[in-house]
């Protein structure tokens, strides 16, 4: 019985592992100061290397904002993103400009979220992971950490 419980618990825990994406220990400080001032420090695994490079090449017009950084910082952040990027085959096409929220993986993972919730003023934007994933900043995207009450109804 004990063993069965253990197996059941393991089964519950396993999907959660895939939803844990803490930033690597060697994350450069520039990633946080440059990228995470305006939005969450998105886990690099959420986009493929090629897409990160496209984004880094277009920081002067980054979704409407000028987020340009100096060449040295761009190199540092770009290298970090590429070496920790996600698998293109698992993520799917991110579009152009690449958006995490357009990848097949993101869309599939959020297919039960009603349109009304995306427009909720507390959410504002699909870029705002923390509106629902309260512990997103520490890399936890587990369904157990979801906060908006609408989701629990």
């Amino acid at each position: 019985m004990k063993r069965l419980t253990l197996i059941a618990l393991l089964g519950l825990a396993l999907p959660a592992f895939a939803d844990r994406m803490p930033l690597p220990a060697n994350t450069p400080a520039s990633f946080k100061t440059e990228c995470a001032s305006c939005h969450l420090a998105y886990p690099p695994a959420l986009l493929a290397s090629k897409d990160w490079q496209t984004l880094m090449g277009g920081l002067k017009d980054h979704f409407g904002s000028d987020a340009a950084v100096d060449a040295k910082t761009a190199q540092e952040i770009g290298d970090f993103l590429s070496s920790n990027a996600g698998s293109p085959s698992k993520l799917g096409n991110a579009g152009n400009p690449p958006r995490i929220t357009q990848t097949a993986r993101f869309v599939r993972k959020h297919d039960e979220v009603p349109a009304k919730l995306w427009r909720d003023p507390r959410v504002k934007s699909a870029a705002n992971c923390e509106a629902c994933h309260r512990n997103a900043a520490s890399g936890s995207f587990s369904e157990r950490d979801l906060v908006l009450p609408e989701l629990k109804r």
Partner: protein
């Protein structure tokens, strides 16, 4: 001449050592005074700048779009929804203590919201307001 040297030295020392809001404000004020004799920073003008509607950007027509009407309170990025720590020193003691960071955000946010770079006088006024508002 001696006076000029003293001022230059003062400016140089605040440039390299600035680490309090007061020092950062003085650096910008000295820069402004070089262009406009007798300049002194004004928190009142800083507040006017903070509340002025520029409407260059649809989503960020003024500073309050993200920093809220009360700078002592936390703000929220109007596009991404990310929370922003209070911009006023009274709400966040880390504000205006890192000259490079302050200048970086003046460049970025003035271009986006005001539609041009801010002048040293505007920056001195802004820092004065954010240091004094309670």
């Amino acid at each position: 001449m001696k006076l000029l040297t003293t001022i230059a030295l003062l400016v140089a020392s605040t440039l390299s050592l600035a680490e309090t809001p007061q020092q950062i404000r003085q650096t910008y004020a000295a820069e402004a005074a070089a262009q406009q004799a007798g300049f002194t920073a004004s928190a009142k003008r800083g507040e006017t700048l903070f509340r002025q509607r520029f409407a260059v950007s649809d989503k960020m027509p003024d500073c309050t779009a993200c920093h809220t009407a009360n700078p002592v309170n936390a703000g929220q990025h109007v596009i991404t929804g990310k929370s922003i720590k209070p911009i006023a020193v009274a709400g966040n003691g880390e504000r205006f203590t890192d000259p490079a960071k302050v200048e970086k955000w003046f460049v970025r946010n003035c271009k986006e919201v005001v539609g041009r770079l801010c002048t040293p006088a505007e920056k001195a006024d802004f820092v004065a307001y954010m240091s004094e508002v309670r």
